[in-house]
């Protein structure tokens, strides 16, 4: 009788420890998503800022300036639900403006243009990176949260079910020449 009781207790404690460990795992994963999301936000904001700076620098022709300014402004001001669309449109605007590699040379030739071109290059390369890391974390959480033990014991608590950030982040070809 006592032996059965002890064994039951041991099993219960083991299950408890396992669930606690899984909850810890989830907790860490959610923290990872938060960090990845913050990094993605920072990169998106950086890209929009560089684009806006270029648009107002009078280096580009007026038409290109307006297109780029409009897209960059919309991306910075977008509401959360509109964000993916607005950022995708900024990618498209950047591709349209820098469709011709000559445009980049014009920017580079302007005073301070080299630094601006470098910043833009960094920004359009880091957005896809940050987005991939973010969605990788989201995928890991979703896989774990779909598991029975997590759903039955509500190990995720009140954390919202994470969503991937889907957007068109293809950089302009003139700026992406080094991607292998």
């Amino acid at each position: 009788m006592t032996a059965t009781l002890i064994w039951t207790l041991v099993v219960l404690v083991a299950i408890g420890l396992y669930l606690s460990w899984t909850a810890g795992r989830l907790d860490r994963l959610h923290a990872r998503i938060d960090a990845a999301r913050a990094a993605l936000d920072a990169q998106l904001l950086r890209r929009a800022s560089v684009a806006q700076e270029l648009a107002t620098s009078k280096v580009l022709d007026p038409a290109a300036s307006i297109v780029l300014y409009e897209a960059a402004h919309a991306a910075r001001q977008a509401e959360e639900e509109q964000r993916e669309v607005a950022e995708s449109e900024l990618s498209q605007a950047l591709r349209a403006v820098f469709a011709d590699a000559g445009q980049l040379d014009v920017v580079r030739a302007a005073p301070g243009g080299d630094a601006a071109a470098h910043e833009l290059n960094e920004a359009v390369r880091r957005v896809p990176m940050a987005r991939r890391f973010h969605n990788d974390a989201v995928g890991a959480v979703r896989r774990l949260r779909q598991h029975r033990k997590v759903r039955w014991f509500r190990l995720a608590g009140h954390a919202p079910f994470p969503m991937a950030f889907e957007m068109d982040d293809e950089p302009p070809p003139a700026l992406a020449d080094r991607a292998a």
Binding site: S20, W21, R25, R32, A39, F133, A180
Partner: protein, 389 residues
């Protein structure tokens, strides 16, 4: 930035991953970052100042061959101490799925972790069995890097998730500026790699040789790499033996001069390649490249634009392509030119900057790396209401 790099393989054994880590660490040190590399090494091996020994690797049978791995209590303690002493902003683990230092570091660290997946091995049985353990450790990795699109695909298939592709780096100018050696020039075909490792493909090249030598009477084959030379030429007609020269193991400097000298570099590898650094080195040195059409090779050679491809393991196709190239100096000059332009993207200046971008992306807004004990095992004690702070 304080960067910690984890090397899974013995520092004293030469290998692709080790060289990659050495070059990467030295690149970052030149830029003024603080770098510490944790690597398995015998305690009496002389190490560069930035390498910390994690103790001796133990040879154990793993995944069909004998691998030298670090595991167990002592190694785990050393990993922990290294993490604690280093106080790194970011830790970069190489080959995190091998049951060695990489996995131990994943286990022990918290904070921004970057991992590079070098190989694209098919999933091993051990990996399937240990999947959930592995997954719990790999979940801590904030950013994954694959060395090629091919490696990324296998990674996505086996482990889920995603990765960015950053190729391996090469010091392009080291190869481009090497001095050719006259005795290695003039109708020479070059091969670099282990002679007795069939996956490196020397047997395929040997089968193609009689045809190549018959068509090009002045052609010679130069082989650089260790292994049994007699066995390698066993099936070659006696009269052709004189036209195959074995150079044995050669130094890095000699390898650069070797690749500068040869008229054609042949990479007949039959499989197991996830990148093909030797092709990049050959192109950097301006050698026209002829390689088997493995996925990884096709990608490095820009789908055949920067070097010619032949059907894998097909000695006749190899012979035909080699004869055609040796008889067409214009085509070789074209390959040389396109190859040299193409390899710029593999230069450390580009690759290193990309890896640094990854570090900066994951460290933005994140706390530094710590050994988990430093913070107290966070979940359990807190959830049981025992946490003091």
């Amino acid at each position: 930035m304080r960067i910690g790099i984890v090397c899974p393989y013995s520092w004293d054994v030469p290998g692709g991953v080790q060289f990659h880590i050495r070059d990467l660490a030295e690149y970052f040190i030149r830029l003024g970052h603080e770098v510490s590399v944790l690597a398995p090494a015998d305690d009496d091996t002389p190490l560069p100042p930035y390498v910390v020994s994690a103790g001796r690797a133990v040879p154990v049978p793993y995944n069909g061959s004998v691998a030298r791995l670090n595991f167990g209590f002592l190694s785990a303690a050393r990993v922990r101490r290294w993490l604690h002493d280093g106080a790194f902003d970011v830790v970069h683990i190489h080959e995190p799925t091998s049951p060695s230092l990489g996995l131990l570091t994943c286990w022990a660290a918290s904070g921004p972790i970057v991992a590079t997946f070098h190989t694209s091995n098919p999933r091993s049985r051990a990996m399937i069995a240990a999947y959930s353990i592995l997954q719990a450790a790999l979940e801590k990795i904030s950013a994954r890097i694959a060395v090629s699109e091919y490696a990324r695909r296998t990674l996505v298939e086996h482990l889920g998730g995603d990765a960015v592709v950053i190729p391996n780096g090469v010091d392009v100018d080291f190869f481009a500026d090497a001095e050719p050696r006259p005795e290695w020039q003039g109708g020479t075909i070059g091969f670099v790699g282990r002679i007795d490792e069939p996956r490196k493909g020397l047997p395929v090249l040997m089968r193609a040789l009689p045809k190549i030598f018959a068509e090009r009477p002045d052609a010679r084959l130069l082989v650089a790499g260790r292994g049994d030379e007699k066995e390698a030429v066993e099936n070659l007609p006696k009269e052709l033996h004189a036209r195959v020269e074995f150079l044995g193991m050669i130094s890095d400097e000699d390898k650069a001069r070797f690749l500068r000298s040869v008229d054609l570099y042949v990479a007949p590898n039959t499989g197991g390649e996830s990148f093909g650094i030797i092709l990049v080195e050959a192109m950097s040195a301006g050698a026209p490249v002829l390689a088997s059409d493995l996925d990884a090779f096709a990608q490095v050679l820009d789908q055949g634009a920067a070097g010619d491809l032949f059907a894998n393991e097909d000695a006749d196709a190899l012979a035909e392509a080699a004869v055609r190239l040796l008889g067409d100096p214009e085509r070789r000059a074209g390959l040389r030119e396109r190859g040299s332009a193409h390899v710029r993207r593999f230069d450390w200046s580009t690759v290193g900057a990309d890896i640094l971008s990854v570090y900066e992306t994951v460290t933005a807004g994140a706390a530094a790396v710590a050994a988990e004990d430093d913070r107290g095992s966070p979940g359990l004690r807190a959830r049981l209401g025992l946490a003091r702070d």
